[in-house]
């Protein structure tokens, strides 16, 4: 009589414990691998960059998003962030392909690794690997600093708006004067 009671109670207890632990925790299922930390995936040296070009007051994102529910539905934003027009592969991508739904203060790589905004180059480099290679050695992007010493790096976002990366045409500076006028008639 006692053994049958145990046989019934044990799975029930397990089920209760199991269901209790399944709600609200980010512990992944035992079968999925743990996402590597950013520096493990790409052990490049630290690139000292200026602060990311945030709009004033927008960061940290969690200030607003901590208390908001997550809406994973792919849509056009109408309440907030309406200034962001996505021209970065809009058919293939939308916000949560780069932004992390559960922790807005970080970006998320394809592997699940979280990267801070100060290392957003890791995110861009996933698809733009050739640019990343060039950028790391200083060949891609605006070059300032010292040619033999410390090069000053910029984040991708400092030149390329991540939501609409293509450069807008600039107004050129004035053309040179014709030779006769250049040195006075």
């Amino acid at each position: 009589m006692k053994r049958t009671w145990l046989a019934a109670a044990l799975p029930a207890a397990l089920a209760v414990v199991g269901s209790a632990s399944a709600t609200g925790h980010s512990t992944p299922a035992p079968s999925a691998p743990r996402a590597p930390a950013a520096h493990e995936a790409d052990p490049s040296p630290e690139f000292a960059v200026p602060p990311p070009p945030f709009t004033d007051g927008i960061f940290p994102c969690s200030e607003c998003h901590e208390s908001m529910p997550v809406n994973m539905e792919r849509r056009e934003l109408t309440d907030e962030h309406t200034n962001v027009v996505l021209h970065h592969g809009p058919r293939e991508r939308w916000c949560f392909d780069c932004h992390n739904p559960t922790d807005r203060d970080h970006l998320r790589l394809a592997s699940g690794t979280l990267v801070p905004f100060t290392e957003s180059w890791r995110l861009c480099g996933q698809c733009h690997g050739d640019k990343l290679r060039d950028w790391k050695v200083g060949v891609h992007g605006k070059r300032t600093g010292e040619w033999s010493g410390q090069k000053r790096y910029l984040l991708c976002a400092h030149c390329h708006d991540p939501h609409s990366p293509h450069f807008k045409p600039l107004a050129p500076r004035p053309a040179p004067k014709r030779p006769l006028e250049a040195a006075g008639r």
Binding site: R178, P179, L180, A182, A183, G184
Partner: protein, 431 residues
């Protein structure tokens, strides 16, 4: 102290001064005209010194212009004296020998003008001393301009020494010293070829300028020099024949005209060879010749000059080739004028400007000389012609015997310091 020598020289100078200050109305009119040219030139140059070379129309794309074009042409004139030297001294050709001196005087005047054109072209004439060997820092032998500086000065000095020696000896009633003069005269032949070859190499050696960077440039320079230089001499000889007692046979003149015809043939042949290469191969190098003869995109300032030059050269060639037209005074002189004009354009603007147009980056800046450039050029030509005139004014009377030591008596009551000279024993000469 060789007082006698100094005294003799002073007599020469004195006499020359007198000759320079005496002449008929035409002479003074000519001097006045030259003075006017020189004055205009001086005023123009002062303006250039004040305002910088920007008062010319040269600019970065076309950084050489009228001045260097004239320089190149005048080096050719200077080299042409050799046309007369070779037959005279190698073959002892009597009819020409007497007029070789005149060719050398022209060479000296042309060198003076050529060097002046360089002097007015450089941006910092106060730094000319940088060009002197040892004192400055002459980039010899790498820079062709360094070569040019040397050979032009040497050639000028050489001709000056030769002609002064001969003329001064004649003044003192003596034959020129063969031992002294002949080596110099012989040396002046390759020297004449060298000045124009070096000047050609100045252009030739630049890979940046395809219009000039052709092996044929040096032979073309020499051919065009030999057909244009004698033109002035022939005009001068006819004038001397007419207005002085210097005896010049027409055969000599015709002979020189004939030589010029052959030189012009070579010149035209080489030009034709160049034109064939450019137009037949039709590479990008054609652009410069195209600009010269056809214009590009409506830029065609040089086209009339280019074709005019060809017309003049061909016509002159035909006139000199045919004995009848060569010997008739009207067609002879017409031919001389045509040949001079044709080569003046060919070696002047039609050489320098197309080398720069289009520029190395494809820009077309149409250059034409400014007022200041024309003024200064007039001044330089004025100086050159004045030098030529003054030298002729002394040399011709010496050649005709009207001006000599025995005819220039010592001054009354005054003597050179030192022992009293013998009564003029001009014939046997001094120590």
């Amino acid at each position: 102290m060789p007082w006698r020598r100094i005294h003799l020289f002073y007599r020469f100078f004195e006499g020359s001064l007198r000759l320079w200050l005496s002449g008929d109305r035409w002479y003074w009119l000519w001097i006045a005209f030259l003075a006017l040219c020189i004055g205009t030139g001086a005023a123009g140059y002062a303006e250039q010194l004040r305002g910088g070379l920007g008062v010319t129309h040269m600019r970065d794309p076309v950084s050489w212009g009228f001045y260097i074009g004239n320089f190149t042409f005048l080096v050719g004139i200077a080299a042409a004296a050799v046309v007369l030297v070779i037959p005279a001294y190698i073959y002892h050709w009597k009819p020409i020998k007497e007029i070789v001196i005149l060719g050398e005087l022209l060479a000296v005047s042309a060198i003076v003008m050529a060097l002046l054109f360089v002097a007015v072209d450089i941006g910092r004439p106060d730094r000319s001393w940088h060009l002197m060997p040892f004192i400055g820092r002459l980039n010899f032998p790498t820079s062709l301009l360094a070569w040019d500086v040397l050979v032009l000065n040497i050639y000028g000095a050489l001709n000056f020494v030769i002609v002064t020696h001969i003329v001064y000896r004649a003044f003192t009633g003596r034959e020129y010293s063969k031992r002294f003069a002949l080596p110099l005269i012989l040396f002046s032949i390759p020297a004449a070829v060298s000045i124009h070859t070096v000047t050609a190499f100045v252009y030739n050696g630049l890979p940046a300028r395809p219009f000039w960077n052709s092996a044929i440039l040096a032979p073309r320079f020499l051919a065009s020099a030999f057909c244009s230089g004698p033109a002035i001499i022939l005009v001068m000889l006819q004038l001397l024949r007419r207005y002085t007692s210097v005896e010049i046979k027409m055969e000599a003149i015709w002979k020189i005209a004939e030589l010029m015809a052959y030189a012009m043939f070579i010149n035209l042949f080489l030009f034709g060879a160049e034109v064939f290469r450019e137009f037949y191969s039709g590479t990008h190098h054609l652009l410069f010749t195209e600009y010269l003869f056809e214009g590009i995109d409506g830029h065609n300032t040089l086209v009339p000059y280019a074709w005019g030059s060809v017309f003049c050269s061909v016509t002159a060639f035909l006139l000199f080739l045919t004995p009848k037209t060569r010997q008739h005074p009207v067609t002879l002189n017409l031919g001389l004028l045509l040949i001079y004009s044709g080569v003046y354009i060919e070696k002047g603007v039609a050489l320098v400007i197309p080398g720069f147009t289009p520029s190395v980056l494809g820009e077309i800046y149409e250059y034409s000389p400014s007022r200041v450039e024309l003024q200064v050029a007039a001044g330089v030509f004025g100086v050159g012609f004045l030098v030529f005139t003054l030298m002729l004014k002394v040399a011709v009377p010496i050649m005709t015997g009207r001006f000599s030591l025995e005819k220039s008596p010592a001054r009354a009551g005054r003597r050179a310091p030192g022992p009293a000279p013998e009564p003029e024993v001009a014939a046997s000469g001094a120590a």
